[in-house]
């Protein structure tokens, strides 16, 4: 996947780029509207991460540019404003999704993966990770040929882990992804453990390798290593 990150905050941009850089991904980044347009005029990308507040103008200009030039990049807006702001309301401006600051990198990655999947839906409606075969439109999971039955949350969690494969994901990030960030919970995320345990058991029982590892008290890692 070829990504363009348009974000004016240098450190945030670098962190996003390093988090996304892995085998099969190419990340380019820039911090101004002008350079973003310049890059878009010369290259094609699969996905653009677009910050709305840029020093030399409004990120929406990039969306206008894409529409005018019939470009088909998936766009994920990064904004300090949330869904209640009129500006961003409805996504009818032409973006595919948006994420509100502050966000977890794991969440961003899962969103990008989902957006990218939606864009390329026709050719690829199956997500395969070694022996795990996920039918996305049917929301079913097979381990090799064995069908396993997952609850909605377990299914979402599996997708989330696969999108962030090889990364340590904090419990905070998992909780926010599964239960929403407005949900003002205890800082006690023990209940997540039960869920992950159930998911892991279902996968292993169907003959799947044990990919889910707990990382000290901080979180979990889904990894083939």
């Amino acid at each position: 996947m070829k990504l363009l990150i348009v974000e004016d905050e240098d450190t945030l941009r670098d962190n996003i780029a390093s988090y996304f850089t892995e085998e099969g991904n190419v990340c380019e980044s820039c911090g101004t509207l002008d350079t973003a347009i310049e890059k878009l005029s010369g290259y094609n990308y699969d996905c653009i991460l677009l910050d709305i507040g840029l020093p030399d103008g409004d990120g929406f200009t990039v969306l206008d540019y894409l529409r005018e030039n019939n470009k088909n990049e998936a766009v994920l807006i990064i904004s300090a404003r949330n869904s209640l702001d009129d500006k961003i309301n409805g996504l009818n401006v032409g973006a595919d999704d948006y994420i509100t600051k502050p966000f977890h990198l794991a969440e961003l990655k899962a969103r990008v993966a989902a957006t990218y999947r939606r864009k390329t839906f026709n050719t690829n409606n199956k997500l395969i990770f070694n022996e795990i075969i996920i039918n996305l439109p049917g929301r079913t999971v097979n381990i090799n040929d064995t069908r396993i039955v997952l609850t909605r949350k377990e299914f979402d969690m599996l997708l989330y882990f696969i999108a962030n494969k090889g990364k340590v994901i904090s419990k905070n990030a998992i909780a926010e992804h599964m239960w929403g960030d407005e949900m003002d919970m205890h800082d006690n995320f023990d209940f997540i453990y039960t869920h992950i345990k159930n998911l892991r058991k279902k996968l292993i029982d169907a003959g799947c390798a044990d990919y889910l590892k707990s990382v000290y008290g901080i979180g979990y890692k889904f990894s083939a290593e």
């Binding site: 945030l12 502050p102 904090s170 905070n172 239960w179 949900m183 205890h186 000290y216 901080i218």
Partner: protein, 415 residues
Amino acid sequence: MKLSSHYNKASIIVSVLVLFAAAIIYYFAIHKIARNQLDSELSEEIGERIDYVNRYGKIPKKDFDESLTEYSKIPTADFPTRFFDTVYYNTREKTNENGRAIAALIKLNGENYKVIITESYASIDDLTQVITLITLVLTIILLFVLFITNKYVLKGLWRPFYHTLHELKTFNISVPGNIKTQTNKVDEFNELNAAVQLMSARVKKDYEHLKHFTENASHEMMTPLAVITAKLDTLIQDESLKPEHYDQINDIYSATGKLSRLNQSMLLLVKIENNLINDGESINLHSAIAQKLRQFQELLLARNITVAEDLQDKNIFASRSLIDVLLNNLFSNAIRHNIQNGKITITLTNDKLIFQNSGAAKPLDESLLFERFQKGQKSDGTGLGLTIVKNICALYNWQVSYTHTGLLHNFEIAF
């Protein structure tokens, strides 16, 4: 007491005092004038008697005229003429009456006679009575007129003032538009209106600034928060970290999460309070609650909380995001302040939504409960959850209230 009553009281007291004093002065003045008049009449009569005695050389007969005249011989000739008040017997009316008398010396044939002429005060008394009566009637009329004038004329004069007062009472800082005042003939009121207009405009402007400041400040904080979160997310990928580092990172995660929730809550409050949310749609509350219940399932299970629901179909017209926040906060609140193996009862009828949860045995202080940053001692929340609930309810004109019955905390929203 109203200003007009104060004014009425003062003016009536002053009027009564002045009129009373005037009546006293008036009485004495008239009395004095009348007595002088009587005295000069008496002097004239004495003159007439002396003339008679000198001309005819004898004492006149008694019934000279209506006045009472007495003669008596006195040994001395040294008798100065004097006037004095006396009481005499009116033979016609057979009563004692007040009279004015003159005593003088008449000489006849070398003998000295004392003559006393007495005249009745009756005519003067009548005059005084009439005058007193007129004064009294005038006083009553004056007081009545004063009262009516104060009541109606002053009321009319003060009308612009009461209009301005009403405008001030209904002044709402978050409602756009300035205070409307009436122009009028009274300079003081015009001045007051001008001052009120100026003040309200300035207050509104300050409030506007503050609003924008809060919004901008909250938005500006989002990017640094995003940086911290991204740094932490990157940091935990480092395999050389030790377990104690993870503990520290966990704490930073918690604090960052709390800060960002706090920030979002403040932004939300600013938006609700400024009526910036107007994306209303028809929402089936029953299914919204059922959906939230599914979302919170794991949290309920973790504390083994049982949920009893009695939900009727109810459609409301509101912003979906706000209803989402409202239910989130009600659920979070009911779960967070619950006990292990506790229970939650959710009741939805056509006119109310009730969340009941077990929890601390003591009732909460309703006056503080919905205030900002009022939170339980053990709460890790932002302290804004119930304030947001209250404000969302206020936005849609719903009444939210808290009661404590048995061992349950009840939060009721009446639509």
